[in-house]
């Protein structure tokens, strides 16, 4: 694996993400998304309200970054943001980290213990008959 020395941009998302603020935020992000192989981290710690336009904006950012062989990661999502992301099942499309620092570090090395993932499942004895 090559050593990654490209810059990582961290942006904090606004407290309320609706159609208007999402559009403004997207406009602010566009210069970073149009660079070669962009690496972005969106800090969701301040987000108190996130609506469909906000989720769509996140997906647009991810798609734009992916088109240019870059990546978008989310950091420190608030409880409200977590609920919306889970409800829309979009949380599985992103790497989500506890802190922005971890998210930035994850671009240069794999940090499994800092990822937010619910992977544990109930052990069922009936599975043995598979």
């Amino acid at each position: 694996m090559e050593i990654n020395s490209r810059p990582v941009v961290v942006k904090r998302m606004p407290e309320r993400v609706n159609a208007r603020t999402a559009r403004e935020f997207m406009r602010a992000l566009r210069p970073f998304l149009t660079t070669d192989r962009p690496q972005l981290v969106l800090d969701l710690s301040q987000v108190a309200r996130l609506d469909a336009a906000g989720v769509e904006m996140l997906l647009s950012c991810m798609s734009a970054a992916h088109k240019r062989d870059g990546d978008l990661k989310l950091a420190a999502p608030s409880a409200q943001a977590c609920v919306v992301l889970e409800l829309t099942r979009t949380e599985r499309l992103f790497e989500i980290y506890d802190t922005s620092t971890d998210a930035v570090r994850s671009f240069s090395g794999f940090l499994p213990n800092t990822m937010r993932q619910q992977l544990l499942h109930n052990r069922s004895p009936s599975m043995s008959a598979a």
Binding site: E95, F110, N113, S124, S126, A130
Partner: protein, 387 residues
Amino acid sequence: MDIRGLVLINSEAESGTEPNHFGEVPLALVDVAGKSALMRTAERLRKFGVGPVTAVIEEAPTISVRGLQGEPGLTSMISPRERFWRTAENAFNDLVQAGAEIVILIKLGCYFEPDFDAVIQSHLDHNCRVSKLSYEGLPLEVFCISASRRNDAASLFRTNLSKCRTDCEIVEQNGYFNPLSNACDLRQLAIDILTLQTDTSPAGQQVKPGVWIARGGHVEKGARVIAPAFIGAGACIRSGAVITRCTVVERNSEIDCGTVVENSSVLANSYLGAGLDLAHSVMGMGVIANLRRGATALISDVKLVRSLSDSAAPNFLSSAKEFVRFIPRQMWRGIFGARVQPADLNTTLHQTSPALGKAAGYEAPACNAGAADEFSNFVAVRPHGNQ
């Protein structure tokens, strides 16, 4: 010092447990992140200077020698069920004849990562004939046997490892342990390997942090692989597919366009159809075991799930046959096929779905929508979902 390994895999389960199989293949032979538990055990033994390793595997129609090749220093022997323990004893004697001074005997079973150096040192320090490993007080079917003590070894093999002629010294060991007794454990092993909880690692190259792709693994443009994930040798992730949350796609498997695979294991030589959503499951050999629901489903529709062949030629022939059959059928339908007129809303609402129909003894209308008679613009919608 000449220390060799002997690994046994058969269909006998430990007392009180069910046989650890998935689709008739012992779990110890199922690939997890590129290598089976057998291969990982052989790799670990080699790391501690134990080798060569001989594996004695009980014969089964689903086990091919081809799938057991590829691990250096590992020789596999397939034995019929009735002669399994005799073959194991002969294999032990062959190792002794070849000059082994100590033999590490492991019955898989569980996947365990002990410190073999400490085990051998303890065995030598206590001048034991046979030492047995335990994990958190639970005795395991892992032994360290002095090669000169053939009679002790013979007594072990003749009692299916349940009893030894002399008292075994118990050596308590810590390290990663997975009972590997069902599909849940298989999935847990995949998660633990991908999240680096084990000493062993995915058998591929880390192309970006947390994403391992083995030689020949292919991710098409437009597909998204989210770390941690593993794509096996010769596996193909088609455009628009999403691989996420500790998913492993084993060798020669194919995930078709637009399918999302979340927190799942796709076993070797499996095809997962287009536009599906597989989550919290182990899939392979035409079977899907959902771990959240604790249910196993056998899928017979080959458009959804099917097994692929190990070699490329049968897969190519199968695809070509499908294509050749598809083109004339579509042309025939296009030219001569009768166009189906969509039924009007009122008729549709009063009609029983053929899927529910008489076979299920259900003859009531699909829904009692009397309102449809009164309101011409009435539309029945599902209260939830996006359909």
